[in-house]
């Protein structure tokens, strides 16, 4: 398998950190995903999807346990990501798992809405701590 060709994005107040572990692509979103974060996330999502297909990963884990807020515009980027996977061929399709912190109440509600889009592709798991 080729090494990950996806760079982290670090801005003031928001970061995206992709890492590859075996056949799983981890994407950690941290900080606040608001208007300032939108161009970075909307730029990253298609690249991450292409990379997941190139590496033929079985799963992408989107770790949001350190994400303290997401606005609807950034949620749209995640909706687009789910749509990319839903429209991929069966061979290129992968599982999307959102890792949430149950103490951040908004996360379960906001991510559940994404899961309802494609329950067969999207899972929600609770972050268990370090």
């Amino acid at each position: 398998m080729s090494p990950l060709q996806l760079l982290p994005i670090i801005t003031e107040g928001f970061s995206i950190n992709p890492t590859l572990q075996s056949s799983v692509l981890n994407v950690a979103l941290r900080g606040s995903a608001d208007m300032d974060a939108r161009p970075f996330l909307s730029h990253f999502v298609p690249l991450a999807h292409e990379e997941a297909e190139r590496l033929a990963v079985s799963e992408v884990i989107i770790d949001v346990h350190e994400l303290y807020f997401i606005n609807s515009v950034c949620l749209k980027s995640l909706i687009v990501w789910i749509d990319y996977v839903a429209n991929a061929t069966q061979a290129q399709r992968y599982q999307l798992t959102f890792l949430v912190d149950s103490r951040l109440h908004w996360q379960n509600r906001s991510i559940s809405a994404l899961q309802r889009m494609a329950p067969e592709l999207v899972q929600v798991a609770n972050w268990k701590g370090e």
Binding site: S32, D34, D36, N71, S72, K76, I79, L104, W106, A113
Partner: protein
Amino acid sequence: MSIRVVRLSYSLPPLPRWIGLTRCYLSDLLQPILVNDDEIDRLAIGVHELLENCVKYSNGDTVRFEFEVNRQGNGAVANIRTTNSALRSHVLDLCHRIDAINAAPDPVAHYDEVIRDSLVQAGSSLGLARVRAESFVHLSYQIQKDVVVVFGEMPVRLRDVL
């Protein structure tokens, strides 16, 4: 009788920097006032999305934001109000969205539908439906010429000491 517990209001230029600052300030302010963090999270989403719409679509020099928590009898209500001028087409679109939200029998099913529709639209168009479905904030509006006022209302529970 209504007793005011919290009030924050300002008129400022429509700059994105106020949105996150307002959300974070109110979240901190409400910590010792509301019983549970879930209500604070829900209000934070409501405040952020309504203020972001207000700033994004404003075509004037200032926008107005008002937030209050009032004790009413045995309960309490949080009120959000945003005021901005905007292009007529934006005002009508906003009113259409709020009317559709209020006409929908199930806010969550309506939000799911808006999410699906957003895939074929350039913008997100999710904010208002999200506020209703996830924050349980009731939305309404008033229009006067090119000025639109959006109201958000959510019951809250105050701590016993207040």
